[in-house]
């Protein structure tokens, strides 16, 4: 029956022994490190995407704790997460408008002419290597979906017209697609800015429309119809500058025959035209 005593004795002994050793160790072997960094890091999404401008989540966490960046600079986190971090670090979440990625091209397979047949690896950058992939407009979307592959958040899907459709809900404005596109067609714009130019051709008039039926022919009607200063022509393309004029109104796009300038609410290419194209 002595085991009735032995067991608890051993247990308590071990508990005390190691508790003490660890307590001592804690005191003498402790390496100073702000514990908040680790906690913050765990609160971050851990995708290490670099959207925040830091090389990864841990460095961002370090900077957060140091107070040199705002939690909201992590565009990938959900709002709740950001608030949680802000609360934990007792800082202001900072406010950053939701950005989404928009495509400066509207010339899908049905509108932009193909001048030669491309054969080879199915990728935009790869196709661009071979005489521009055979697309007449050498500024437009090649439609082979490098961006679709690049997007970590599954926000891009090629629509049936061969253009990348960005899901505004899923897009976290990580700049993966911007970096991936060999034609440099993506732009991160605030979701609240509805006016958008979806063409990238610097040619004017017939030279442009000959290559793509929805090319901006630089007619200048949008400039005329918008509030003064809001839109100006640069390199044969309209440039919208919210700081220079305003307010933006949908009227600016009404007379654009090619829908090169559009008033967007939600996703791009939601209009009937591409829907129909999808059905073909």
């Amino acid at each position: 029956m002595n085991s009735l005593l032995v067991a608890p004795a051993i247990m308590v002994g071990i508990g005390l022994f190691f508790g003490t050793i660890l307590a001592i160790a804690q005191r003498f072997l402790k390496v100073d490190e702000d514990p908040r960094i680790e906690v913050t890091n765990e609160l971050l999404p851990g995708t290490n995407c670099g959207a925040c401008g830091q090389p990864g989540c841990l460095p961002f966490a370090e900077k957060l704790v140091a107070g040199t960046v705002d939690p909201s600079q992590c565009t990938v986190s959900t709002k709740e997460n950001i608030e949680q971090i802000a609360e934990f670090l007792e800082v202001d979440a900072g406010s950053q408008e939701k950005l989404v990625s928009r495509l400066r091209c509207n010339g899908g397979g049905l509108q932009a002419h193909q001048i030669a047949e491309y054969q080879g690896f199915e990728g935009c950058r790869a196709a661009a290597m071979v005489s521009g992939g055979g697309k007449g407009c050498s500024w437009g979307c090649l439609g082979l979906g490098d961006c679709e592959v690049a997007c970590t958040f599954d926000a891009i899907h090629m629509n049936k017209n061969g253009l990348p459709q960005v899901d505004t809900e899923k897009c976290r404005a990580c700049p993966d697609c911007v970096a991936a596109c060999p034609r440099d067609l993506f732009e991160l714009v605030p979701l609240s800015q509805n006016l958008f130019v979806q063409c990238n051709i610097p040619l004017a008039g017939e030279a442009a429309t000959q290559l793509c039926s929805v090319a901006c022919d630089a007619c200048g009607k949008c400039v005329a119809d918008a509030a003064p200063g809001l839109i100006r022509m640069e390199n044969n393309l309209p440039v919208i500058d919210y700081s220079a004029g305003g307010p933006a109104a949908p009227e600016a796009v009404f007379r654009c025959a090619t829908r090169s300038i559009v008033w967007l609410e939600g996703e791009q290419f939601q209009d009937q035209e591409s829907r129909k194209a999808g059905g073909v």
Binding site: Y118, G120, M129
Partner: protein, 339 residues
């Protein structure tokens, strides 16, 4: 506009090709195996035909079944799954139930190829994977060997072949041991000439060493295989047995016995050389070959199994990514080895 321009094709240079294509390489290997295949039919009669057909059937069935709907049949055209089936068949015992042979082919392709994404993506040799699966699943049937047909003629079929699916084999009364089994468990040496010309018990394709060598020479002439691999395997095996022979020539197999017995030639020439699952780099090929040779001898001499070629190759397949990574060739104009 003037005369209409042709629709030009844009294809990245270079635009010329050497002429060899992957399906052609597969067909070459099939051709190289033809003599050994015919010999297996000579030795084992109709049973050999049935087993090979079942394996190929299983392999083709899996390839077809799991292909994309639109690409169905497309991947059959390169003949690589036929080759897998044939090679698997050649490694099976002649008395194996046909349903097991079919299953082996099916599993080999399904587990060894399809799930990896198809031709060229797999990291383990599909034929050997199929065999390893069979051996682990039906160890008794897979280690029951029957002697070559003596009388009975070509039309004879081993009763074991005809076992019902999922049912047990009635073990052949006339089962006998392979040269390696005899060596390992009875210390009995089979004469070398029998090993070379095929008068031995064993799996379908391994009995005739010389025909296998012949096919190997053909493949080497066609530049379809990396000669470093078979050469290094065989040399390693010879050296290993020679060294063992120095200790106790009676207990350990002689070098020539080691080379010509079991599946070594079949494995070294046709299976270890499977380009997909062996290293691409020349240095890697040497390491792969030496590793395989050492493992073969280790398992044969010190292991529990009489034959180790299959396991040796599979184990080296597993190490191939590592070998490849650490044997990158020296780049032109760079002194030391890169990486």
């Amino acid at each position: 506009m003037k005369q209409r321009d042709p629709d030009l094709l844009l294809f990245h240079a270079p635009l010329l090709r050497q002429g060899m294509t992957t399906p052609k390489a597969m067909r070459d290997v099939l051709l190289a195996l033809a003599p050994a295949t015919l010999a297996s039919m000579w030795f084992f009669g109709l049973s050999a035909v049935l087993i090979l057909a079942s394996c190929i059937g299983g392999a083709v069935a899996a390839e077809w079944l799991f292909a994309d709907r639109q690409a169905r049949g497309e991947s059959l055209r390169d003949a690589s799954c036929v080759l897998t089936g044939l090679l698997l068949g050649l490694t099976l015992p002649p008395g194996l139930p046909l349903w097991m042979a079919f299953l082996g082919g099916f599993i080999g392709i399904a587990l060894g190829k399809v799930i990896w994404g198809g031709l060229g993506q797999n990291l383990f040799n599909p034929a050997l994977l199929g065999r390893a699966f069979l051996l682990a699943t039906f160890p008794i049937a897979m280690t029951t060997w029957v002697p070559a047909v003596t009388d009975g003629g070509f039309l004879q079929v081993y009763p074991g072949n005809l076992a019902l699916p999922f049912m047990q084999v009635q073990i052949d009364a006339m089962s006998s041991a392979t040269p390696l089994g005899l060596m390992k468990f009875e210390q009995e040496v089979t004469p070398l000439t029998n090993l070379m010309f095929g008068k031995t018990t064993g799996s379908l394709g391994e009995t005739s060493g010389l025909l296998l060598l012949l096919g190997g020479v053909f493949l080497w002439l066609r530049r379809d295989l990396d000669w470093r691999i078979p050469v290094s395997i065989l040399v390693t095996v010879v050296v290993f047995s020679a060294i063992l022979g120095l200790f106790d020539a009676d207990r350990f197999p002689s070098p020539l016995f080691s080379v010509f017995s079991g599946g070594l030639l079949l494995g070294a020439i046709y299976m270890a050389t499977d380009p997909v699952t062996s290293p691409v780099t020349p240095k890697g090929a040497w390491i792969f070959g030496i590793g395989t040779g050492v493992l073969v001898m280790l398992i044969r001499v010190f292991g529990g199994l009489p034959e180790g070629v299959m396991y040796a190759i599979l184990l080296m397949n597993a190490a191939t990514p590592l070998i490849d990574r650490y044997t990158q060739p020296r780049v032109f104009g760079r002194g030391g080895d890169s990486q």
